[in-house]
Symmetry: C2
Subunit: 373 residues, 2 copies
């Protein structure tokens, strides 16, 4: 992307930092680094000062690659963990930061990673630490026009992956083999990667995170397929349910109930809407259809560089270290249909990625929404 995009993002970042206690951010989460610098990878860090300066620390092996990809002011390479610790110390020194507060990503750092980036040989003793998750989530909430184009492209590839998976479904194929069809098609269509593929069948459609197994699909099974390509760094999220053979009346009815709740919720998406209100619409519809006892998990989340990111519904946000989301402005991107209804013996689910617009949303994922069979 253009360098001016990163300058603009850094400018907005420093403006947000002015309102907080943070004198500097020390980022290690690839998606946050990618957003602010154009490159994000594991075993690396980005330090962002209140003046918008960017210092990177990367493995020696990666210096040329990062230099070609990232916007930054200074880069240090390191050979190992000790080197990384010293690089962090050098960057604190270079920016003259010996007290104040450094923002760290509490939603990403494990205890052991935290110990490393705050090691006495890395962080100056008098520098306090705090959680900068809300700053980064706030920055990334509203997508700019380049990002929206990338998200549209990602969603196209999600549709391609879904078509391949749905066409692959047949008797005796395993859940894992159905996942293979989606993943293969997405990579061949231009995805450089994907987040975890979920494919569950039969009784396994009732579980919350149905990772593929070697269970073979059987006649009468529902099969839930949930995929998330990564295309030029941007993700999308689509889920569909397929029936192997003709669905029972109960399956068809539950599916229609779910689809109607999902579509009613999408119909309410417009600039200024509250994520909690959307969640309420979704749940109220399902309750009205008799599924009050079949609901599990938050039905909506943000989509961007990460396939699940802020905004999250309030309760979920709190426990995942995110702040409560503001009324959602135009150009926030959300997936609706994140969790299904679960009838104990099976569950159903439909999910689509949407851009919030002034009036009606732009739904990015288009693959047919009937109960496929």
């Amino acid at each position: 992307m253009r360098d001016s995009i990163y300058l603009d993002r850094l400018n907005r970042c420093t403006q947000l930092m002015q309102k907080t206690e943070f004198d500097v951010l020390l980022l290690t989460k690839p998606s946050n680094m990618f957003y602010l610098t154009g490159d994000g990878r594991l075993c690396a860090y980005a330090m962002i000062t209140k003046q918008g300066q960017v210092a990177l620390g990367v493995p020696t092996t990666d210096v040329d690659d990062v230099t070609a990809l990232a916007h930054f002011d200074h880069i240090i390479s390191f050979e190992d963990e000790v080197g990384m610790i010293h690089a962090i110390a050098d960057h604190f020194k270079r920016f003259g930061i010996q007290k104040g507060t450094v923002g760290l990503e509490f939603t990403f750092l494990t205890q052991s990673m935290m110990k490393m980036v705050t090691h006495p040989h890395a962080k100056p003793e008098k520098v306090e630490i705090g959680d900068c998750t809300p700053i980064l989530s706030g920055l990334r909430l509203v997508k700019d026009s380049e990002e929206l184009d990338l998200l549209r492209e990602s969603a196209k590839i999600a549709d391609i992956g879904m078509e391949a998976a749905v066409k692959a479904v047949k008797l005796d194929l395993t859940e894992s083999q159905i996942a293979a069809a989606a993943e293969y098609a997405m990579r061949h269509a231009g995805a450089e990667g994907f987040w975890r593929t979920y494919v569950s069948s039969g009784p396994r459609t009732n579980i919350a995170h149905g990772l593929p197994t070697n269970r073979s699909v059987q006649k009468g099974d529902l099969v839930t397929i949930d995929i998330h390509p990564i295309v030029n760094g941007y993700s999308s999220d689509i889920c569909r349910t397929v029936c192997v053979g003709d669905p029972s009346t109960e399956q068809e009815n539950a599916y229609q109930d779910y689809l109607q709740a999902q579509q009613a919720t999408i119909a309410e998406i417009k600039a200024g809407v509250d994520i909690a209100a959307l969640e309420k619409t979704f749940h109220d519809q399902l309750k009205a259809a008799g599924h009050g006892a079949h609901i599990f998990g938050p039905p909506i989340h943000g989509v961007g560089i990460d396939f699940e990111e802020a905004p999250l519904p309030p309760g979920h946000a709190f426990f995942h270290g995110e702040k409560e989301a503001p009324p959602l402005p135009q150009n926030v991107v959300i997936a609706v249909g994140n969790c299904g209804v679960y009838l104990g013996v099976w569950g159903v689910r439909v999910e689509d990625t949407n851009i919030i617009q002034k009036e009606r949303p732009e739904t990015l994922t288009h693959y047919p929404r009937q109960l496929l069979s």
Copy 2:
């Protein structure tokens, strides 16, 4: 697996706990839960008492699935994060634990997850926390015969994936499309999943973590392929380097230097060997061949349920929250060739998974080791 396996593992776990300050463990890392109970999944926990009792907390949607798969004494289901917190509190109460120390996985828990499992409504106030990573890594270090069979099966599928990827390499195919071939083949051969696939080409073979991109391979490129199937819960690790067309003399020489260092290191694997000694052999060989300045990263790590697990070389172990490994007994499984030599313009790498035996190791991954072209 047989119930007696979990009873045995729990018995060994409680024996290790006796030697520590821990009165109870509260596990959320899927691989650790899987090892001790037969089931591991996200958004769930396993509490293990000093007496070997197992209490599980799982989403309501997952109760039947977990009940069929896991060994446990008590299970609570929950609807959301608040429910999970209350379930943890209930289990502390059920086991009469209101003081003492609970072991948590510091190498897995983010700050926000930590906040949740130690929430005042979850953990009794007087219960202290500590890091139980070394207990779990210690337990999982030596593989039993059932695990060794599963690792052999996983390695077979790694070979199948590698063959598919190598055969797929051709001019103008992207790194991502090469990854697709490996992943598709592994899922079709019986893998229920895989860890991140690394495929890098040309100058990108020089970077430490070469995730696939949409770069097309060009004549004269080296292509590094690193794959890790998950088969019945067990992983394996294989890496090979392919040349598109005929390799240059420099490429061929660097490759042979690397392969010789890797094979010399594998030849030294036997019960009682020190992981640091193996690392030294590897590095000394590379230095002797003139690659002292081309080394990056630790060349050896354990393989099991996780594709990268303890034992780790000392420095790496420390910063990743693991204890220094003891001399390695028989039936520890290690991958040798985790990092390559990096000549700036390209790098080369070969990696294989091995079972430590009394004398010579059993190498599980067999795909041909010449520089393929």
